[in-house]
């Protein structure tokens, strides 16, 4: 039996919505792949694109950034900043040849455990199809 590729996903989740959402997913026993490793940050607006670049550098195959739905940010506008940063950084990553599916921004509220599970499952499937990133391999 050939071994199935298991992608490493780094989840950068905002403390107030997405992290609670992940918690809800756990409490409600929603099934989702164990490929994601979660880092809790206080707000999605706190996420420096450097975190994402470092994640890829250190072997992540995909990065998920999740925060509160627009308008629901605990700090009023943090997720708007996150969205703007995401947009320009994603364009750059794409220009450097990192598939856009490897870097995802999504909104998950504290009650949307099922939604969090769906997002992680979807992303894991996509990354499985894409294969490993192998950023350190020189051609």
């Amino acid at each position: 039996m050939s071994e199935r590729f298991e992608p490493h996903i780094l989840g950068l989740l905002c403390s107030w919505c997405a992290y609670s959402g992940a918690d809800t997913a756990g409490v409600s026993r929603a099934q989702y792949p164990a490929n994601i490793r979660i880092v809790r940050v206080m707000c999605s607006g706190r996420i420096d694109p450097l975190f994402v670049a470092r994640a890829f550098e250190h072997g992540a195959d995909g990065v998920l950034v999740a925060g509160c739905h627009p308008g629901d940010c605990h700090y009023i506008s943090g997720n708007n900043f996150a969205q703007e940063r995401f947009a320009s950084f994603a364009r750059l990553l794409d220009f450097f040849g990192i598939d856009q599916r490897r870097f995802r921004l999504d909104w998950v509220s504290g009650a949307e455990g099922a939604r969090f599970a769906t997002i992680v499952s979807e992303m894991t499937e996509e990354l499985r199809a894409l294969g490993p990133l192998n950023i350190k391999v020189t051609s």
Partner: protein, 281 residues
């Protein structure tokens, strides 16, 4: 013999220093080799004799300005440098009232690496009648070939003349970008892997960039930590993608980074891409 522009520049610098309206005048002096110049700050009227203006005055003086913060600076700027200075003003890095700008009309500068072989010097490369370099498109810097703007956007007084409007030429870098963007992600990745694998992380591109002005670089925090001094593709990739990200709103496309790169990595592709993205928004 000095060209007319050079003479005018020296006279003006001398006058400014003598009347005390500036403490130093920033321009170029002859470098240690022909076709090379170095930034030079004249502090007295006798030192202005060392100022030069010729077809090799490529380095971006905007990057040197922070060294003289707090002093009244006179500076000679071409279009590229003026764009960088405008950005520095926009980010409150320098003060307009401390700056006296002599704009110099620029008809393109020489790519020293392309003409060094022919053993020319800066005097033969200058046409005194039209006050512009006598260079063919193959001897100009890439950015100058497609440039249509000889007059700087920012000046207190202007030297030089605009002889004829420069012809519209196609920007070949844009074609390269379109070609890159037409590729699928893995091919583009392979392209960058190949180019960036030449990178030695010497940080020359960062040192030369006039708009890399942070006192402490977010990317250099780890350079002092021996455990993080890796030189693998991952570190190189992070460095380049983050450098590009930090320049998204700043870069003016002076292409100093590409000029100083010892490994000839096509960094102007990145800066052109940034410019293109800005225009689209």
């Amino acid at each position: 013999m000095a060209s007319l522009i050079e003479q005018q520049l020296r006279e003006r610098a001398q006058a400014l220093l003598d009347e005390g309206s500036v403490e130093l005048f920033l321009g170029y002096r002859q470098g240690s080799r022909s076709l090379r110049v170095a930034p030079f700050a004249a502090r007295s009227s006798s030192e202005t004799e060392r100022l030069v203006w010729n077809a090799a005055c490529v380095p971006n003086l905007a990057g040197t300005l922070h060294k003289y913060a707090g002093q009244r600076i006179g500076v000679a700027l071409k279009m590229c440098d003026a764009h960088s200075v405008i950005q520095l003003l926009r980010f409150n890095q320098i003060r307009r009232d401390e700056l006296y700008v002599i704009g110099v009309v620029c008809h393109g500068m020489a790519d020293a690496e392309r003409i060094a072989a022919t053993d020319a010097d800066t005097i033969t490369l200058w046409d005194p009648a039209t006050e512009r370099p006598t260079l063919g498109p193959d001897q100009l810097l890439d950015k100058c070939v497609s440039c249509t703007q000889p007059v700087p956007d920012l000046y207190d007084e202007l030297l030089g003349r605009v002889a004829t409007a420069p012809p519209e030429t196609k920007n070949e870098r844009l074609a390269d970008i379109q070609m890159l963007e037409a590729m699928d992600a893995p091919t583009r990745r392979a392209f960058w892997q190949e180019q960036l694998s030449k990178c030695t992380l010497c940080y020359a591109c960062q040192a030369a960039c006039p708009l890399c002005f942070c006192k402490q670089c977010a990317l250099s925090l780890e350079r002092s930590d021996p455990r993080r001094q890796t030189r693998d593709m991952g570190a190189i990739f992070t460095y380049h993608v983050m450098r590009a990200y930090h320049l998204t709103e700043r870069c003016t496309g002076c292409n100093e980074c590409e000029r100083v790169c010892p490994e000839d990595i096509p960094l102007s592709l990145i800066t052109q891409k940034l410019e293109q993205d800005r225009e689209q928004r």
